[in-house]
Amino acid sequence: MAGWAGFGRLTDLRHEIDRLFEAPLAELSRSSNLLSGWTPAMDIYEDKDSLVVRVELPGMKKEDIEVSLHDGSLSISGERKGAEHSSSAEIYRSERFFGRFQRTVTLPTLVKADKIKAQYTDGVLTVTLPKAEEVKPKHIDVQVS
């Protein structure tokens, strides 16, 4: 019986070409597995008490994610392992990336290293880093003499 062409492999090239034309170059190099392996998208937010770093890591196991802080740099790394499929399975599309990734960011302020929390929900890692007391904005009362 001939293979059914609905999920065909020939469209892979078209898909990559579509991406070339639609995505800005910086984003392409970030998101395309052809150029750079896996660089998961990272967002950083700041409020007066803490920094929040969020990384999109769909389909990981909690124990395969590593978060570390060294010299004011936050490093998030890990490995995504592929599910095992029987050798008789035919692959129609293979767009997901499996393997190691690492992202490192220099934090803009000092943080309390012992108060960092990391939470993994719905494939998104959220790291909350409370700011060190000395970098928090302080209100100074003006004395009248």
């Binding site: 609905g6 995505a23 990272m42 950083i44 767009e95 998104v124």
Partner: protein, 122 residues
């Protein structure tokens, strides 16, 4: 990577931008397996609809309030959408979908009539 959709009768300004999730698709004798990456989408945000032989995967991201201002942003806030044409051999009543840490895992079994069978020689 992105697909722009326009609802009929609406001005061009009302287009909704979607991201096409990256997928892996496998076929075995038993059926198909589709895995689609939708980070930030929970079970409640997932909509799978079947129309004839077309299956539409729609993932709405959980709306989260993030404290303060964004210093750096690479993620795109758009929802995920992708449409596939199904093999007519799939028994659509038996499709099962689940979310596992931002990955949609969907099994699409083939109907019994089309599965390969060993014929006993008498």
């Amino acid at each position: 990577m992105k697909a722009t959709l326009q609802k009929e009768g609406q001005p061009a300004a009302a287009t909704v931008e979607y991201l096409a999730p990256e997928v892996d698709i496998y076929e075995t004798n038993e059926g198909y397996l589709i895995e689609a990456e939708m980070p930030g989408v929970s079970k409640d945000g997932l909509e799978v609809t079947l129309e004839g032989t077309q299956i539409t995967l729609l993932g709405h991201r959980r709306q989260e309030t993030v404290p303060g201002q964004a210093l750096f942003r690479e993620s795109r806030p758009a929802d995920f959408r992708r449409v596939f044409e199904l093999d007519p051999a799939i028994d659509t009543a038996k499709i099962v979908a689940r979310m596992d840490q931002g990955v949609l895992k969907m099994t699409l079994p083939k109907s019994e009539e089309v599965k390969p069978r060993r014929i006993t020689v008498e």
